[in-house]
Amino acid sequence: MQQLVEDLLAGNRRAAARLISKVENDEPEKRELLQEIFPCTGNAYVIGVTGAPGSGKSSLVDCLLQQMRSENLKVGVIGVDPTSPFSGGAILGDRIRMQDHALDQDVFIRSMGTRGSLGGLARATREAIQVLDAFGKNIILVETVGVGQSEVDIVKTADSTMVVLTPAGGDSVQTIKAGIMEIADLFVVNKADFPGTERTLTEINMMLDMKEDDRWRPPVVRTVSVRGEGIEEVWNSLQEHRRFMEESGRLLEIRRERVRRELTEQVEYLVKNRIWDRVKEQIEFDSLVEKIVLRHRDPYSAAYELLEKIDFYGEADKEGG
């Protein structure tokens, strides 16, 4: 076993940080490292926190940290902020609201830039969760970037998803639109001391009344995070949802679905790599491109032909990843 993994399992925070960097930077040993930590994962419960920019996600995470720590739970936090499509840089500012917990040895906070991913999470958020899971965290809070309507990758990653809204977020049509309003296991209306709160609550509830699946009706909780109001209720609702997920078998169901997806992605990744390795070895890809540009060929038949020519089994035992 690699030293870094051993250190991680022994509870070394620096090892956890280094490992997350390695998976985030897609370093060559990434797969091997993830392979080694995998047997130690699957114990953490993952809670997603999503919502518009400035709705109070980080502040709510901070409040929740306090609740969780009072029950002695070990918590990992992953805060995602957007990467610039122009420079590749990012300002990662989720920690600003969480600095009260900076010195708590049982809280580990990591900021990530999206690095090109568009679904509200970073490219390597899922792998970072695995690292913190193996690190022994009981709960992992994942804060998405400030989202609009359709960045809903969190629902594929989290066991419970909490959607944070603020009062006066448009008319009632907004609540019946597809996307973000469909993924909540819990709605939080933060800044509930602002005008428009009652209407927002009513509109969410009306939308929920129309929902046909009645196995779980997402609670709608009002909070004022700066004053800590409503936080206990949020925490209770999250725990209630977790009980529902566990007792109804739903948790197993979504985790199975997640594994299915991950395995599919891994296979596709390997197949893709193998194909491109062969293409680079065997075929004049660039000359084909030129022919298509000059309209001497079309990309559809050319792609077919490329695949036909590849000898997949020539070196079939060679590792393709």
């Binding site: 925070r13 620096r14 956890a16 940080a17 280094r18 997350i20 960097s21 930077n25 370093e27 990467t83 610039s84 420079s87 590749g88 840089g89 990012a90 300002i91 990662l92 500012g93 920690r95 600003i96 600095q99 900076a102 010195l103 580990f108 906070i109 990591r110 900021s111 830039g113 690095r115």
Partner: protein
């Protein structure tokens, strides 16, 4: 690994409530393609070091306008070392008299000190040059 993203923590240690400058620097580093972690005002040296550790940053930039740099910088440098983070580039920016700046760098408490009026490009160039020369990068 040459083209991997450089991660920088910019921090305001101590009792100093002015963050305009540090935000300008953070923005400049962002535009130079770096990931900048900003943690807000009034950080203790412990908080700065623990954040650097968890975020696995390459660079720590301290903004100090309070005059406490001769206490804060050596303390943070020392704690970085204690936590095995000696390979982190430690930069300081702020209102720092020349003789203090000289002392901080010559005694090894900081790698470089930037004072008011220095162009952002100088800071980013300093980071890029260091990163390129760094073993294993």
């Amino acid at each position: 690994m040459e083209d991997r993203t450089i991660r920088v923590l910019v921090a305001k240690p101590g009792l100093d409530g002015h963050d305009r400058g540090v935000k300008v620097v953070a923005r400049g580093l962002r535009d130079a393609g770096m990931e900048v972690i900003y943690t807000g005002l009034h950080q203790t040296p412990q908080q700065v070091v623990e954040t650097a550790l968890q975020e696995d940053v390459d660079v720590v930039g301290l903004s100090i306008l309070s005059g406490a740099h001769m206490t804060l910088v050596p303390r943070i440098k020392e704690m970085l070392k204690e936590n095995g983070l000696d390979d982190v580039l430690l930069l300081v920016g702020g209102i720092i008299p020349e003789e203090d700046a000289e002392k901080l760098t010559s005694e090894g408490h900081a790698d470089r000190v930037f004072t008011p009026g220095e162009p952002l490009k100088k800071i980013t160039a300093c980071i890029f040059d260091w990163f390129k020369a760094k073993p294993g990068s």
